[in-house]
Amino acid sequence: MTTTAPAPAAAAGTKPASMAQALQRALRDALTEDPTVHVMGEDVGALGGVFRITDGLAADFGEERCTDTPLAEAGILGTAVGMAMYGLRPVVEMQFDAFAYPAFEQLISHVSRMRNRTRGAMPLPITIRVPYGGGIGGVEHHSDSSEAYYLATPGLHVVTPATVADAYGLLRQSIASDDPVVFLEPKRLYWSKDVWNPEAPSSVEELGRAAVRRAGRSATLITYGPSLPVCLEAAEAARAEGWDLEVVDLRSLVPFDDATVCASVRRTGRAVIVHEAAGFGGPGGEIAARVTERCFHHLEAPVLRVTGFDIPYPPPMLERHHLPGVDRILDAVARLQWEAES
């Protein structure tokens, strides 16, 4: 478990940086330090990616280290598999969440299974960067929260940063991992800024650790990625109601940090899970189930979920009604049976 404030006090040399900058820096440092790292995807070259995360990499490392591929996601991931089989370490960019779907067969049937299939002889150190989630006014297919698909696929790591420092640290650690990592980048946090020290950025110690972003005693908000800022805002707002909320940022959905999450829930006795993905069949069900299995007798109320509705992502003009916001979170907290019933 790591307890980290979302915006650490400004130290010498630190200054505000965006998540996009931190991600770009992570790719740059990985390309520099490890000659087997190759970045590939649609428009990652001259354009620098539609979100500019790969900006300048092709110019600095050459087109063979940062490659514009043909427009075919299964082909991108499938060739990355072959490159990894030969000892390279591909970092693949999927342009948007929904455009990773054509690559699902490669992902499920090969990427997640090759190590197991070959009894460890052929690991696939592939990082798949997927910009995900809504809140950016994107038209259909540009705002999906597709994490449930990845969660249900054993053999993948599923990682998602919510802070600028984690964007760097988790991406470095993902690229360094000898296993495939689906690296989910919360689109609407790309331009969010934190105080960060680009002079001495640091990787995280290992994947699979959650972080308590705010300590509290009344109840635990369990969240990740794009919903972390919303939860922190809700926790602030909850003070007015007399609730002191703890906020846990999962950072890694697979593996899941039961220890950190359960320690928090055992302390507070109440929990709400918050994510953008549709509730039904989404990550929240798994999280609620495992927390309940492990903490049942510490729970004063059922673990509740505040999620996107069970609908396809709405058009831009209606998305605000879909996204979990502060009010919905506070409503859920209010339903945590503060007056003991039977």
Binding site: G137, D310, P314, L318
Partner: protein, 379 residues
């Protein structure tokens, strides 16, 4: 004999003998597309074109250009979420619309609102997706225009399936599906063309090769001699046409549509054109192409080409040009005005069309949102 055969039986009749006597089937016409894109404007062939068609194309091109400009302007005013302009590609968009009969279907990609509008769809409805009020602003069956497809090439198998269904039902419907050069790299492109050829479905694929998939130039997309050459591997005719020559595009598509309607099966048409604007208003095209290239293409502008043809042949004069521009301006003004009104939104629509019958689960979620909205109103 073949007349009494079903579609499938006809195909089966083509079954090759076992390979000791194995023969190449080279019957579906010349295998390779012509080496040069077909051009009509400025050639003697242009004189044979129907003047009325030429004028209709011209008026639509002028209006299409104006429409593109207006839509781009609307993004700057925040009235559209995004606009992928087809400026420079109007000849393809317009020809695709005009070549179809009433009963035919158009399968546009996300860049092809103009084709839908040229076919007669209300532009406000066509722009729904890009405005952001709903995903599709019209009833596809009413207009026989499929929803704009954002996931590239995924609309192509839909077009094949629809055309096949129409044929099975005995209707003389043809489907025309649009896709970009980048989209040809997707697996769905391959599967769609293959199904179409095997089923001999009445479908025409129009690839607008504008040289780029966002920033990725054609030579990183394919090593084929032309995209039209891809037809060979499916056993269908491939056609190559100058995509800025509206008359040529119309002619090539018209032949392909007729061929499909007569039971001849699918055709792949590549139209070589250029996107004069950036990929969308959010794109910065200077990152991946230089002004000279754009300038070279501006000199080959589809409207200028057709205007020259028409004026050279005295089918158009200054007043005609002005009339077309005025009509386009009026069209744009009407669009601007309507788009400046706020879209009518009902948040409850989020839950209405997920299933034929709303599930209990969705009813509960709808009730939650309704309660929230009421609470909001009270505040």
């Amino acid at each position: 004999m073949t007349e009494h055969m079903t579609v499938m039986e006809q195909r089966a009749a083509h079954r090759p003998a076992p390979p000791p006597a194995w023969k190449l089937r080279t019957d579906p016409g010349p295998l390779l597309p012509e080496a040069e894109p077909r051009r009509v404007l400025g050639t003697p062939a242009a004189a044979k074109a129907d003047p009325q068609l030429l004028r209709a194309l011209y008026e639509q091109l002028v209006r299409g250009r104006r429409y593109n400009a207006q839509a781009t302007a609307l993004t700057k005013q925040g009235r559209l979420a995004v606009y992928p302009s087809s400026t420079g590609q109007e000849a393809c968009e317009v020809a695709a619309a005009l070549v179809l009969e009433e009963q035919d279907w158009l399968f546009p990609s996300y860049r092809d609102t103009l084709a839908a509008v040229a076919r007669g769809l209300d532009p406000v409805q066509a722009l729904s997706l890009l405005r952001g009020d709903w995903h599709t602003g019209y009833d596809p069956r009413e207009h026989r225009i499929a929803p704009l497809s954002t996931p590239l090439a995924t609309q192509l198998p839909h077009a094949v399936g629809l055309a096949h269904a129409a044929r099975l039902r005995g209707d003389d419907t043809v489907a025309l599906a649009l896709v970009g050069d980048g989209g040809t790299s997707e697996g769905d492109f391959h599967e769609a063309l293959n199904f179409a050829a095997v089923w001999q479905a009445p479908v025409v694929f129009l690839v607008q090769n504008n040289g780029f998939a966002i920033s990725v130039p054609l030579h990183k997309q394919t090593a084929a001699p032309s995209l039209a050459h891809k037809a060979v591997g499916y056993g269908m005719p491939g056609r190559l046409v100058d995509g800025n020559d509206a008359v040529a595009v119309h002619q090539v598509l018209d032949e392909a549509v007729r061929h499909a309607r007569e039971g001849g099966g699918p055709t792949l048409v590549e139209a070589v054109t250029y996107r004069l604007e950036a990929h969308t208003n959010a794109d910065d095209a200077t990152r991946y192409r230089d002004d000279e290239e754009v300038a070279a293409w501006r000199a080959h502008d589809p409207i200028v080409l057709l205007e020259k043809e028409l004026t050279d042949r005295d089918l158009l004069d200054e007043s005609g040009i002005q009339a077309a521009r005025d009509a386009a301006d009026a069209f744009a003004a009407g669009l601007r005005e309507r788009m400046n009104q706020d879209a009518e939104l009902d948040p409850m629509d989020l839950f209405r069309h997920i299933y034929a019958e709303q599930t209990q689960q969705l009813r509960e979620q709808a009730a939650q949102l309704r309660a929230e909205l009421e609470a909001e109103d009270e505040r």
